[in-house]
């Protein structure tokens, strides 16, 4: 107890972790939803069927709410680099600041300029202009994702940097920094995971309307698109992107891989644990149910490949919360597998024409939407916990990164402040989203003409 209150690093980490996890609940939906909007807008252009326009109008409102909360919770993230992680910024600002600024200037300007046009500009812009606005917003969200993942990838796998005369980091090669191989894999994995969230939410609202017997045409549209896209994305998020991501961890951060698997002793024919709890005190996995050789095969391509265990590394190189890391990784994988099964079954039922009439499946689809949020969060926890004790892998320790001039009490105070503020924000967001869902897509294609007058 005393040790936690005396460790400012803990509070700075907790605050950053809390604010980023909360923030990322919103962009993951907008990044995923953006492609649905582009797709439906494109279908509307091609077929002239107004049901697609209705879908775009409805989902643009949900998108707008998420976007607004994403904006207001996102701005503190950037400022915390200076307020809470001043020593890290001092050390690596010349490198990571580049992509933080580029994210703002290349992505957020684009997104925020066109998001209003997407939500209210349908009549004014015409079908083609509105389609272009949807593409601009989707593009902006992807660019933003890429730049922030380049920043994170640098922390996982630093490339393109040089150490300056004053000991801080500078850019040696901008192209090497921006084209970090880690970033490509992470970007693909992360964006697909965002599409999983988007498709589950779309399917859940479709299932809700179907169970209620409301808006049947729209419900069918959401269910079909949500389950099919959900199947493709859930599959791709596991293979090849998730697989590649794990291989990269295995190659560049072998100690992280050992901790993710709760593997203390190294060896060939390394198993994957389906069930089991790592016990750091006794240095073993409790009640394991394992698939022998699977980890060797997945990580290095052969069942006989040697996989390092935690004991092959000095203890101060171990991630500092092995249990949490292990659970995060394993629950993410389990959820990811269940997503493929659920969406695969739903797609099958859809082909057989039984999706809208299968009450049980609709219930499951309706209630499943929180799980991709959990899986996304756990994926990020795996990434960030796995990198510990490093802030920049191999270069800079997390304990060296926080602001030494900020007192413990100040950090705790602002953390409590964020907790309260974000609770209120969450209640508001859920309430207003619920109102939009309850109102539903307008059947008779009413678009607010008064809004257009501003345009």
């Amino acid at each position: 107890m005393n040790s936690i209150f005396n460790d400012p690093g803990f509070w700075h980490r907790l605050q950053f972790g809390f604010t980023i996890v909360y923030h990322y609940l919103f962009p993951q939906l907008t990044m995923g939803l953006a492609w649905f909007l582009v797709y439906w807008k494109w279908r509307a252009l091609r077929t002239g069927d107004d049901k697609y326009n209705q879908a775009v109008r409805f989902w643009a409102k949900i998108f707008g709410l998420n976007f607004a909360v994403g904006v207001v919770t996102g701005i503190p993230m950037e400022f915390q680099f200076g307020t809470n992680w001043a020593d890290f910024s001092k050390y690596a600002g010349g490198v990571i600041g580049q992509t933080l600024a580029m994210e703002g200037m290349f992505a957020f300007f684009l997104e925020s300029a066109f998001v209003g046009a997407l939500i209210w500009g349908e009549k004014r812009l015409g079908p083609r202009g509105h389609f272009a606005a949807a593409i601009a917003v989707a593009l902006g969200s992807q660019i933003s994702g890429y730049f922030i993942l380049v920043t994170n990838s640098f922390m996982q796998h630093p490339v393109g940097y040089q150490i300056e005369a004053n000991g801080s980091l500078g850019i040696a090669s901008m192209s090497a920094y921006l084209l970090n191989p880690w970033a490509f894999v992470q970007f693909a994995h992360n964006q697909l995971a965002a599409i999983v969230t988007g498709s589950f939410v779309v399917a859940a609202i479709g299932a809700f309307y179907a169970l209620r017997g409301l808006h049947p045409i729209q419900a069918k549209l959401y269910l079909r698109a949500g389950t099919f896209v959900g199947l493709i994305a859930s599959f791709l998020v596991a293979f090849p992107t998730g697989d590649q991501q794990a291989k990269m961890v295995g190659n560049h951060q072998p100690v992280t891989l050992a901790a993710m698997e709760g593997k203390f002793e190294g060896g060939p024919m390394a198993p994957v644990a389906l069930i089991g709890q790592p016990n750091v005190a006794t240095q073993r996995l409790d009640n394991p149910i394992e698939v022998p050789g699977a980890l060797s095969f997945l990580a290095y391509g052969h069942f006989g490949s040697f996989v390092h265990g935690l004991n092959d590394f000095p203890k101060d190189a171990w991630p500092d919360n092995i249990e949490l890391l292990y659970y995060s990784f394993h629950i993410m994988i389990t959820l990811g597998t269940l997503f493929i099964i659920l969406m695969g079954f739903a797609t099958l039922q859809n082909w057989r024409g039984r999706l809208e009439s299968s009450t049980l499946l609709l219930w499951v689809l309706m209630l499943a939407f929180p799980f991709p949020y959990i899986a996304n969060t756990l994926g990020w926890m795996t990434t960030e916990l796995g990198r510990q004790p490093w802030l920049i892998y191999g270069l800079f320790h997390t304990r060296d990164g926080y602001s030494k001039v900020v007192s413990n009490g100040d950090a705790i105070f602002t953390l409590i402040g964020f907790t309260g503020l974000y609770f209120v924000l969450g209640v508001l967001f859920l309430g207003l989203t619920w109102r939009e869902i309850a109102k539903g897509p307008d059947e008779e294609a009413v678009i607010t003409p008064h809004k257009e007058a501003i345009a």
Binding site: T83, G97, Q98, E103, G116, A453
Partner: protein
């Protein structure tokens, strides 16, 4: 190179202040110029679709500051810890009140959010004003280049100063009045009907109030930082800033007296840009003046990234800026024209 980047980073912050400043101003006046619920929706609709675009300038500024002047960003942001979180929370509150107010068509609900909207904008104007005052006056930077400060100490401007003292408070008041005047000028241009007529009167009185406040702040600045004017005389940007101030003051004055609203608003924008640019030029190259010992002060040359890092940034920044200008043109065309009560207040906002 470093001087150019100092100008660029200052420019981004100034753009943010002048763009979001209109929202702060409009927000502060919200309850005074708009009296019926419909009129209040009209004011929100006048700033509604663009506030997030304006806030992106703050994000762009923050990121660029980390990349170009990492040690300044680290020292200043950690030093201003609580004050910055107040700003961030007010920005959250402000954004939320814009977005959720119009979602439910209910008197009580909207009154509540309108109140939060006024309060958060008022606090933001005061806080940004006090922040500007802190940059001008300096902060207790120690020999390691760090500082941490209380909200207020003895209200004096030397030694271990606090965030608030007589000088920074007077700049905060000036900022609130000037941004309110700026907001009134914007709303005059952007609205029609009773809100327009009230804003027109408010704008005139507020701009008149700015004159003595500005004079007081200038005299105070001479007392607080006697070292500044001498150096500024040799900085061409300071002179350019002065010319911009003079020209825009004239534009604003003629715009206000002749009822040419766009002219007045352009003048108002450039007046704020000119004043802030003059200030930024006057303190250069010191970015954070130390009130303890001048040799502790953080200069642009001392806190900048390496030349190769700066060079990298000079490749992408102009492209990003050109794109931002392009979006600005798109936005200006799309949201041109006045916002009226009848047409615009039953929608999203």
């Amino acid at each position: 190179m470093i001087a150019t980047w100092y100008a660029v980073v200052s420019f981004m912050l100034i753009i943010y202040i002048v763009l979001d400043g209109r929202n702060f101003g409009a927000g502060m006046l919200h309850w005074f110029v708009a009296q019926t619920p419909e009129e209040r929706r009209q004011v929100i609709a006048a700033i509604g679709p663009l506030w997030s675009w304006h806030e992106v300038w703050l994000v762009g500024f923050g990121g660029t500051l980390v990349a170009i002047f990492p040690r300044l960003m680290a020292s200043a942001f950690a030093g201003y810890y609580l004050a910055l979180f107040l700003i961030l929370w007010c920005l959250i509150l402000r954004g939320v009140s814009i977005e959720v107010g119009g979602h439910i068509n209910d008197r009580l609900w909207q009154t509540y959010w309108d109140f939060n909207f006024v309060l958060s904008n008022f606090l933001l104007a005061i806080l940004f004003g006090a922040a500007a005052g802190n940059v001008a006056r300096g902060v207790p930077v120690d020999a390691q280049g760090n500082f941490s400060m209380a909200f207020f100490t003895d209200f004096n401007v030397r030694g271990y100063v606090g965030l608030l003292d007589w000088y920074t408070v007077s700049i905060a008041v000036l900022a609130a009045v000037m941004l309110a005047a700026h907001g009134a000028t914007y709303l005059t241009l952007k609205t029609e009907g009773p809100v327009h007529d009230r804003c027109e009167i408010w704008a005139k009185y507020l701009w008149i109030a700015v004159v003595p406040l500005l004079a007081v702040v200038l005299i105070e600045s001479r007392i607080v930082r006697p070292d500044l004017p001498g150096r500024a005389l040799f900085n061409p940007f300071w002179w350019i800033g002065l010319v911009v101030v003079a020209a825009s003051a004239f534009t604003l004055l003629t715009g206000l007296t002749s009822g040419r609203e766009l002219r007045a608003f352009v003048g108002s924008n450039f007046l704020i840009v000119g004043l802030l640019a003059t200030g930024a030029a006057a303190i250069f190259p010191v970015m954070l003046h130390s009130t303890l010992a001048p040799e502790n002060s953080l200069t642009a040359y001392g806190v900048a990234s390496s030349p190769s890092t700066l060079l990298c940034a000079s490749f992408w920044w102009p492209i990003a800026f050109a794109l931002a200008v392009f979006y600005f043109i798109f936005i200006s065309r799309r949201y041109a024209g006045k916002v009226s009560v009848q047409r615009d207040t039953q929608g999203f906002y």
